[in-house]
Amino acid sequence: MNSYFRAKVLSNTPLNANTFLLILQPVEQVREPVPGQFYMIETGSSYDPLLKRPFSYLRRTPEGIQFLYSIRGKGTRLMRDFQPGKNVQAIGPLGNGYPKAGTRNTPVLIAGGTGVASIFSLAAQLPSKAYILYGARCNEDLILLNEVKELEHRDIVCIDCTDDGSCGMKGTVIDALNELIATDFSRIPSPLLYACGPRPMLESLSQIAREKELKGYVSLEEHMACGFGACLGCTVSTVKGNKRVCKEGPVFPIREIVW
């Protein structure tokens, strides 16, 4: 089983102006990921960009490993041009992944923007009753809305929202959560939060968690050089000292993070 492996690009499909679905097919024996884990992916073969970029996996199918990425800078711009058949080096699966909920817990999943990739990897494996709050700036950015809605067959309540109100509720996922808390929450048995999204969203969420004494986990992002615990470049401060997002994380108990 190789953690550093070569893969072939199977497809690289635009889902909207800025977001792509990438499917990589490993050409070696690889380890299987668990929800919340990520991979370091090579974006170019020259020295600029130099480092691989971290991406959560979205789905693992017999055919390959799926990723959802949005264009941010140099590296992701090069990924946009990946053609089927191209060889890329990758490292993974990396990080700890989401801890399993207890049988009495009701998972409440919260995804903002491309954070949906990581949250979806978890949602797809939930056995029973759960909630998923999914928000983005606008209609077009709710790229996985159909897939998320399909989960409703499995007793998963989906609440979608957009900043501009072009789809679902108008407001952020934090607004949606506050709304849920104000209405239905007391009827949800032992809610357990799982969240991934932009940092300000996670920070607001941790405040709510503290006020309402909610338990749960957040998946964090930090700049990474290695992705496997060697460089100490990706630390986040926690109540138990500095921790590596790539190794002890990316998933942390929500109340451990010092924002």
Partner: protein, 305 residues
């Protein structure tokens, strides 16, 4: 035909010239999933201090053209925990163990070095060149008098381990500083550490690192490093270890031709976690192809016009 790949760093014999650069290889464990540590000449671990250190706030790293800036701030678990938890792990492997150390006083370097020497490590690399901490580090590396006192104090106290001084690239004259540490008794000289640098996000107008400045490493610094290794190697008789931007076999050979007896791979490990073993194999192939029987026939064999 079996090619001779072993090199000597004073009394320290390496099975091949490939070492890891401090701070880029963790304590070795992190790479065991990628490489057979037995295949390395030596493992140089993350810089260790007497007491554990938390390091700098994030962001600590950012990428730059063909390189990266880091301001980790020497976060480490402290020497006690290292001896108890990390050293036994490394001892399982047939490779040499070099510990990179730093302190804020000569006494701290001395105590650390003695503890590690008593514990039986093969080499002690004095980091006198870290640009990311205010006290210690670079302050020792840029003052010749202080540097000489530091090196001679440590050298006198260390019985078995080889003493390596990691020179700062931020000195006016590499030949002079190289001679200073050689005269002070350093068994080996290694260079270069990172070069101080800075990057700014023009949208937010903030520096890209929380520490504002950081150390530049990677392919971007290689030409500077090759020049400095060449200057050091021709100024002293002690062996020199070449560091800076080594990613591939060709880079390693370049440093050896410039006079390095061994090389360290740093940032290259992040790009390719198997870089060290691939370079070791690549060097063997290079010797084969060029009909060279002993790698020592490569060291410093630069043809100057």
């Amino acid at each position: 035909m079996v090619r001779e790949l072993s090199v000597a760093l004073g009394k320290l014999k390496l099975k091949n010239p490939v070492m890891t650069a401090s701070g880029t290889f963790g304590y070795g464990e992190e790479y065991a999933q990628f490489v057979d540590l037995n295949a390395l000449g030596a493992v140089v671990v993350k810089g260790i201090s007497l007491k554990p250190m938390e390091g700098n706030p994030s962001p600590r790293i950012c990428e730059t053209s063909c390189g990266m800036l880091n301001a980790i701030g020497l976060q480490n678990i402290g020497v006690k925990k290292f001896l108890k938890e990390k050293l036994p792990y490394l001892r399982q492997f047939d490779t040499k163990i070099v510990v990179n150390v730093f302190g804020s006083t000569v006494q701290e370097y001395l105590r650390l070095s003695k503890m590690l020497d008593d514990a039986g490590v093969d080499g002690i690399e004095l980091n006198v060149s870290c640009p990311n901490v205010k006290k210690g580090g670079i302050a020792f590396g840029t003052d010749r008098k202080v540097l000489a006192r530091l090196v001679s104090t440590v050298k006198k106290a260390v019985k078995n381990a080889v003493v390596i001084t990691k020179l700062s690239p931020n000195v006016p004259s590499i030949p002079e500083f190289s001679r200073t540490v050689e005269e002070a008794g350093s068994d080996v000289i290694s260079l270069i550490n990172t070069l101080p640098g800075m990057a700014i996000d023009i949208e937010t107008r903030k520096p890209k690192l929380a520490n504002v400045t950081g150390g530049l490493s990677g392919p971007a610094i290689k030409p500077v490093a090759v020049r400095m290794v060449w200057e050091a190697a021709r100024s002293v008789a002690v062996p020199v270890i070449g560091i800076g931007g080594i990613v591939k076999t060709e880079d390693a050979i370049e440093f050896m031709l410039a006079g390095a007896s061994a090389i360290q791979v740093g940032t290259g490990n992040f790009i390719n976690p198997r870089a060290t073993v691939e370079i070791a194999q690549g060097i063997a192939t290079y010797l084969e192809k060029n009909g060279i029987n002993d790698i020592k026939d490569l060291i410093g064999k630069l043809h100057v016009f």
